[in-house]
Amino acid sequence: MAHPTAAVLEYHLISYRRTWRASVTSSFVLPLLTVLSFGVGVGAFVDGGVGGVRYLDYLMPGLIASTAFQVAVGDCTWPVLGHFKWIRTYHAQVASPLRIVDVVSGHLAFVGFRVLISTCAFVLVAAVFGALRSPWAVLTVPVCLLLGFAGAAPTMAYSASVRSDSFLVMLYRFGLIPMSLFAGVFFPVESLPVALRWLAYASPLWHGVDLCRAATLGVPPDWSASGHVVYLALWAAAGWWLAARVFRRKLVG
């Protein structure tokens, strides 16, 4: 018999079969437009590139990581709130033999699947643009998966704990958007004032960006690679634990 978590994943996959078309725009077309406008458009004005590499090549791994992160966070905002408030999927699931950890892990596994698909698509695009300069680039896929969990799990805990979706708008406004802009995707964090730099370093996104960039450019990362992995794993693990706690309080109180 399959693991109960797999049954939850299966539900989300079947549900996704009905809605995947809408998600292609946000998780693939928009990032692609960003590549064109910033990488190709803005890049033409960046003389000498960044740190000796073409701006498009510098930007591409950042966008791969940032897109993975946004897909992961996005999938854990409105959908999670909806499964609690509107569809009540989670309530239906905990009435079955499933345990809270199956419900949380199964949904996170689905988010992982979404991150994998969008990362693979993006890596292919990067290859077409000639922005992958090292065979290490294949490592962007597992890195983005880990980064996805580091973003998804805490977001799932947050979305489960809020009363209305105005809190989700706040998460985008004060969390996701600043992070996407300042965590080293478009320009080196060192260009920021020192105080803001530390915020960027603390964000999980920067760790994913640094790893991805090292992988596609074939250079050592700015920070210890294993340090990055451990830091991201901590975000994912703490988020998972928090999410299970909030789910338990909300569903089986």
Partner: protein
């Protein structure tokens, strides 16, 4: 100790949320094959009790055994043998009718092929076979409720928990649901339901408890409860004029109890026709007289009061 046939056994069951006591020490035994009802106004503690029985809410105090097991330790094993039809719809509107059943079956570890076959059977049972491939969203309330019932049956449960199964349905839809539940009962499924519809309780329940303020205030079969807490018949009198009160005094001594409502006076009596004759003999001329049998509703209102509970 719980008997072998006691599928649900509760003693001194308590559920508190912070300072609020939702369930205040109830004793319940539900036997295999019976239809058991929790009756009560809103806020009486019915749903909290159902959630504890459904193993999605831990009792604050007391003993609870379901199918001989402890919900705190064996939650998943118990839930594997329960069917739950919640009060609030939790179907997936994006999925088809069939997929709602098959995905749910997978939560019970049921093989895909078996799940598909069972879905067809159950859709036939709840008369939704023609809608198997359509989405859930456009279905009527009655169809959604039937689909929820089908979903609850997907694991062939021994106990079916139904929280207000026909609330919000039109009469045709209610009767169809009742008829299907009756069939389930005949097939040996133990039904546990909450309702505030008296006719539903009289139709479906072999035994029921009336809850009020978290406590059980009466227990028995519908017939026994009527016999114990009401009279055989009720005479409803409407008098012309602003207030019914002035007539009440003139009715004293008639029957076991006289209840004055803003718009009518109720006489609780054993023989309605005799009481009506007596009313006329006292030279009273009500605008209308209705003699009817006592119902569970009379019991319910007598026990839990007429004050509106929101």
């Amino acid at each position: 100790m719980a008997g072998d046939d006691d599928l649900i056994h509760a003693r001194g069951l308590v559920k508190r949320f912070g300072g609020f006591t939702a369930v205040d020490g109830i004793d319940v035994d539900v036997r295999r094959g019976e239809a058991f009802g929790f009756l009560g106004p809103n806020g009486a503690g019915k749903s909290s009790t159902m959630r504890m029985i459904g193993c999605v809410s831990a009792p604050t105090a007391g003993t609870l055994r379901i199918l001989g097991m402890d919900p705190g330790r064996d939650g998943p094993a118990i839930r594997a043998r329960l069917g739950v039809c919640p009060q609030e719809d939790s179907l997936d509107p994006e999925l088809t009718v069939r997929e709602n059943l098959t995905t749910y079956a997978r939560y019970f570890g049921i093989a895909r092929q078996v799940a598909r076959a069972r879905a067809e059977e159950l859709l036939e049972f709840v008369q939704l076979a023609e809608r198997a491939g359509s989405k859930v969203e456009p279905l009527s309330g009655g169809m959604k409720r039937r689909l929820t019932i089908a979903r609850a049956l997907v694991n062939e449960p021994e106990i079916m928990l139904l929280d207000e199964p026909t609330t919000g349905l039109d009469p045709q839809a209610r009767h169809l649901v009742w008829e299907r539940l009756f069939r389930l009962k005949r097939q040996g499924v133990t039904l546990v339901l909450t309702t505030h519809y008296m006719d539903e309780a009289e139709q479906l329940c072999d035994r029921l408890v009336v809850m009020d303020g978290g406590r059980i205030v009466a227990e028995g079969s519908p017939r026994a409860l009527i016999d114990r807490h009401s009279t055989r018949e009720v005479v409803e009198l409407r008098f012309a004029g602003e207030s019914q009160d002035e007539f009440a005094g003139k009715l004293s001594g008639l029957g076991e109890r006289v209840e004055v409502l803003p718009d009518r006076v109720l006489l609780y009596v054993s023989d309605g026709d005799a009481a009506t004759a007596e009313v006329h003999a006292r030279a009273l001329a009500p605008m209308s007289v209705l003699v009817r049998r006592s119902t569970l509703e009379d019991v319910f209102l007598h026990l839990t009061g007429r004050t509106l509970v929101d």
